[in-house]
Symmetry: D2
Subunit: 111 residues, 4 copies
């Protein structure tokens, strides 16, 4: 794990990579298998957007860029929306949990 | 090229991918070869951050996410900083041009 | 555009980024809109795998890594499979064309 | 963590994301700070290539693509080279460990 990062940042990198993993895996396996509302354009795109901004925010922290504050702020916003949408659909508990945890960690990092 | 995107968005995707390509290539070849100030932590990290946010902004437009406005706003800001820093160092004309063009296109997309 | 790359490599970078753009855009917009077979797990995953390996192969060429030969070989294989699968489904002409062009360019680069 | 993946694949995803994190962080912070041989073109590019193929291999497993076997095979090869080069330079123990662990896990996944 990255030395240059203090414990709060290390925890945020972990939360981002975990949320990236969960969103990508659930969208591309669980949602594609279930079909119906789970592959509706808006929901599916939100999950993939969430995966991408998490991957990017982790990257900004890993490269040691001060702009990570801005990517983390955006990440927190998208994660909250994704958690809400997954909650609405149901049957997406792991995704809801990963998104809420990442949103909270990213908000602290962005402050 | 993406059908779902109107001409302004298509042009912005192209500008982002061109800036991503130029920053990545110049940092990882030109700057590593020259050494000295070109591999100073702050400059090199700014170039890699610029490459990453350009790649991400293109991705948000390609997946058709409404959050592309936020990634494009951040992209415009980082591109301007990268252009300024490359101008200061000198010998980075292609990077300055790609960053300025991408910043302008992203500002319009973010509006 | 990258200086360090000779014209053949520059053309391959362009082909990879174009195929990445087309596959991502068509999967996440066209296929999600059409539904049915277009969002079947195997087809949709193949399109996203194709997008990712194209993005990665372009990156390996841009950073000037000798391992680009291996990523380009894998890229050529996935692009051909994606082109075949899009041809079978129909209504995916732009994707077929981008995948065939990228496969051909990557095969030359891998040789 | 991804449900669709069996325990061996889950462990390989974790190893890939850990190696991606360590290589990216050490190259962009430790190596840029130390300078000298640590920012030599060949070494630095190998570290960034290693980070990228790890990120990509994790992605292929997360999206549930059968092509993950090929990306994991390439990942194992690049990780071993990166571990060797970091060992030669010295002062890169965390990177050596993350690369060796990822190489071993990816070799099993590719088999």
């Amino acid at each position: 794990m990255p030395h240059h990062a203090d414990p709060a940042m290390q925890e945020c990198i972990t939360a981002c990579l975990d949320c990236y993993s969960t969103c990508t895996s659930m969208a591309m396996n669980h949602c594609l298998m279930l079909g119906g509302e789970h592959v509706a354009k808006d929901h599916f795109t939100l999950m993939m957007a969430c995966a991408e901004i998490c991957r990017t925010s982790a990257h900004f922290m890993l490269i040691g860029s001060p702009h990570h504050k801005h990517t983390c702020a955006e990440c927190a916003e998208i994660c909250e929306q994704c958690a809400d949408d997954c909650e609405r659909l149901g049957d997406m508990d792991d995704c809801v949990a990963a998104c809420r945890a990442c949103a909270e960690s990213c908000r602290r990092m962005a402050a």
